[in-house]
């Protein structure tokens, strides 16, 4: 490979990696905010992302509703579904079984239910493209070619992440959520309504997943199995440090870029291995993840 080609590959790999990585980062953020406050890795996050995409597809393409109705309706549906799942299912499971593993199993159950529901509708039988809401014309950034849609995906994802950071850091609700993540009992003692806070967090994670779905669906083609992309988000969360919000975002971008670089400079066959390679390297060098803070060991 000559130098000129290597430079083109490098620029394209970074540009494409930032676009796909921004979506992985959003999903990783959704996973991490739940994990930080509930200690539960939500294995249904990918299916929530998938189902939200299909809700939007159904309303926009099959019902031909205007987009200004479709977008809020999709976000609202994702918020309510996740908040109610927390309130109706997880609270019940937590009451009857103290072990966290049952909550994890409940999230797995949700993933199967959502996938089954989408398959029952028949819309998930054929790969479909959600119409792009911005043009897909190409523009050059340096020697990398990206579309206006790519720029919109990246810009929207960064704006959404910034909005959530602002909320977590500068609003009363956000600070309450952080307090629940640090010490739920202490947060309750100072007047935080735990049940309401958990519902809000789960609902917000649904909203983030729905935004990720709306952004990436025009690019990846929708199927009932598209939720498998969440594996990349888990990889991003692990690389970043599972309890760190900035870590989730940086991890998302790293995974996106690594995927492209491995595909361009090593082999297309190795693309699927790239996230696991990144996890392996990070776990060996820094087991708590890049932003995971000080490593602590629990006595058992």
């Amino acid at each position: 490979m000559d130098l000129q080609l290597a430079l083109i590959f490098l620029q394209q790999g970074i540009a494409s990696g930032l676009v796909s990585g921004s979506v992985y980062a959003l999903l990783a953020l959704a996973i991490v905010i739940i994990f930080k406050t509930s200690d539960v890795p939500n294995f249904a996050q990918g299916e929530v992302f998938m189902a939200a995409g299909y809700v939007a597809l159904y309303l926009f393409v099959f019902q031909q509703m205007p987009i200004w109705i479709v977008l809020p309706a999709t976000l609202l549906a994702a918020f309510l579904a996740m908040a109610l799942f927390r309130r109706v299912v997880l609270d019940q499971v937590a009451k009857s079984a103290k072990d966290l593993v049952y909550l994890v199993i409940a999230t797995l159950g949700l993933s199967y239910v959502l996938k089954g529901l989408v398959r029952r509708t028949g819309f998930g039988d054929t790969p479909r493209s959600f119409p792009a809401l911005v043009p897909t014309d190409s523009v050059m950034i340096g020697q990398a070619s990206v579309t206006l849609l790519d720029l919109a995906i990246f810009g929207t994802a960064v704006a959404v992440m910034a909005a959530f950071f602002w909320m977590f850091n500068y609003t009363k609700t956000g600070r309450a959520m952080r307090a629940v993540g640090m010490n739920p009992k202490a947060a309750q003692l100072v007047g935080v309504d735990l049940r309401r806070c958990h519902m809000l967090i789960w609902g917000l994670s649904g909203v983030i997943s729905a935004i990720a779905a709306l952004l990436i669906s025009p690019k990846i083609l929708m199927t009932a199995d598209m939720g498998s992309i969440v594996m990349l988000a888990f990889a991003a969360a692990i690389v970043g440090g599972f309890s760190s919000l900035p870590g989730a975002i940086v991890g998302g971008f790293i995974i996106g870029i690594v995927e492209n670089m491995v595909g361009l400079f090593i082999s297309s066959r190795a693309i699927v291995l790239a996230p696991f390679l990144a996890i392996l390297i990070v776990l060996v060098l820094r087991p708590q993840g890049l932003f995971g803070g000080k490593l602590t060991i629990k006595k058992v």
Binding site: L5, I8, F9, Q12, G13, S16, S20, R119, G124, D125, T126, P127, R128, S129, T136, S138, S145, T147, I216, K219, I220, L221, T223, A224, D225, S228, I229, G256, E259, N260, V262, G263, L264, S268, R269, I271, V272
Partner: protein
């Protein structure tokens, strides 16, 4: 009187035992019926590969029954859903063989799934004719019991595409994208043979079927400055690659394998017409789907399934593919004579050679040949009009024992 009664009783018991013995040897056969097991993806995201293929096979069997059956016996079929999934397919096969006691099997639309049933079928010595699965891993090395590739073998898909790119488009360097699994490996092996003969340089990128971002493989292929790109993947990665080619301004010919064309309407919806300006699809039938030469098959479908035919996108693209395997099964049963056994049917299959009137090539088996069809045609498609191009392109690959 008493003696006669004993003799009659013994004769009756003997007859009963013989028929039971015969029944034990040949499950699924009665004086009036031959029971066969059909399976295919009737649900799930891959149902477009098999739902209407199963319907086509059923309607052909119904027609045979209406015309008097086979040597006086009617075909009775039992249908199972395999969801294109190896576990579900093996479960369906076991149910059909062990619970339904079928005489033979006719099913499968997905290669990886059918290969999973190979050991079971060979162990139980059940004659098995695939539906439209290429199933190369189950066909080669050849066994006495499994026959298929009535639509086409994966070994032949890639080879015929290379042949077309070289002969019709004058391509010398061909970019080739396959899956990074056994399905893709079979495809590439067949392609290499035709590339060698035609003096074509193949530049290969293998991708995972679940890939989301195809930027890297596409850029690497484009960097090789190919004369054409051959996509030999399933529909989803194929659509992603066609979109990416349009995004990056690639304007040389794109040739899509038959395995990537589950729904051409959906492909247009997914990639847009502009992406199909220099686009060709491979077809294994004698004409484009819905074309004049296939009109009798489509008329038969409309008569058999009026409700389905009234729905948009029905019949599905692969519907006619269900006819040749059903024809082959019926022909083998006819050739096996009025007292068919599994061994007689298998012997008839090994010598089978007929023109289905549906596929581009003849349906031919032989002592080492288990893939019926190796020929394809090509269609220029601009998102609206399908224009079949002249010529039939046949792969050179043949099985050689290692």
């Amino acid at each position: 009187m008493k003696t006669n009664g004993i003799v009659r009783g013994l004769t009756l018991a003997g007859g009963l035992l013989m028929s039971l013995a015969a029944g034990a040897q040949e499950p699924g056969i009665t004086d009036k019926t031959i029971k066969i097991g059909i399976f295919g993806p009737l649900s799930g995201q891959n149902m477009a590969y098999g739902f209407d293929v199963v319907n086509a096979a059923k309607m052909y069997y119904d027609k045979v029954n209406k015309d008097g059956g086979i040597h006086g016996r009617k075909i009775e079929y039992v249908v199972e859903d395999d969801r294109c999934n190896a576990n579900d397919l093996v479960a369906a096969v076991k149910k059909l063989v062990e619970q339904e006691n079928v005489f033979m099997l006719n099913g499968g639309s997905c290669s990886a799934a059918v290969v999973a049933a190979k050991d079971y079928i060979v162990r139980n010595k059940v004659p098995y004719l695939m539906l439209n699965a290429s199933g190369d891993g189950a066909l080669f090395p050849p066994t006495d019991y499994i026959f298929g590739a009535f639509s086409i073998s994966q070994y032949a898909v890639g080879g015929a595409m290379v042949e077309f790119a070289a002969k019709s488009l004058g391509a010398k360097t061909v970019a080739y994208i396959n899956h990074d699994d056994a399905y893709g490996a079979w495809n590439l092996e067949g392609s290499k043979k035709d590339a060698e003969v035609n003096g074509v340089k193949l530049v290969v990128e293998s991708v995972n079927p679940t890939i989301n971002d195809v930027t890297a493989p596409f850029l690497k292929l484009r960097a090789a400055n190919p004369d054409a790109i051959l996509l030999v993947t399933y529909a989803r990665p194929a659509a992603l690659l066609i979109k990416k080619a349009a995004e990056l301004g690639f304007n040389k010919p794109i040739i899509l394998s038959v395995t990537g064309t589950a729904s051409l309407n959906q492909l247009v919806g997914n990639v847009g017409k502009d992406a199909l300006k220099n686009f060709y699809t491979q077809e294994v039938m004698i004409d484009s789907p819905g074309g004049d030469k296939l009109k009798p098959i489509y008329d038969m479908y409309k008569a058999a399934y009026p409700d389905l035919a009234a729905k948009p996108d029905h019949p599905q693209t692969y519907m006619p593919y269900g006819i040749p395997p059903a024809m082959s099964l019926v022909k083998a049963l006819q050739d096996a004579g009025p007292n068919p056994t599994r061994e007689k049917v298998l012997a008839a299959l090994k010598a089978q050679d007929f023109d289905s009137g549906v596929m581009a090539g003849r349906m031919q088996f032989g002592p080492q040949q288990r893939a019926a069809n190796r020929s394809t045609i090509f269609i220029k498609y601009d998102g609206t009009t399908m224009a079949p191009l002249p010529g039939v392109f046949t792969s050179r690959w043949t099985y050689e024992a290692k």
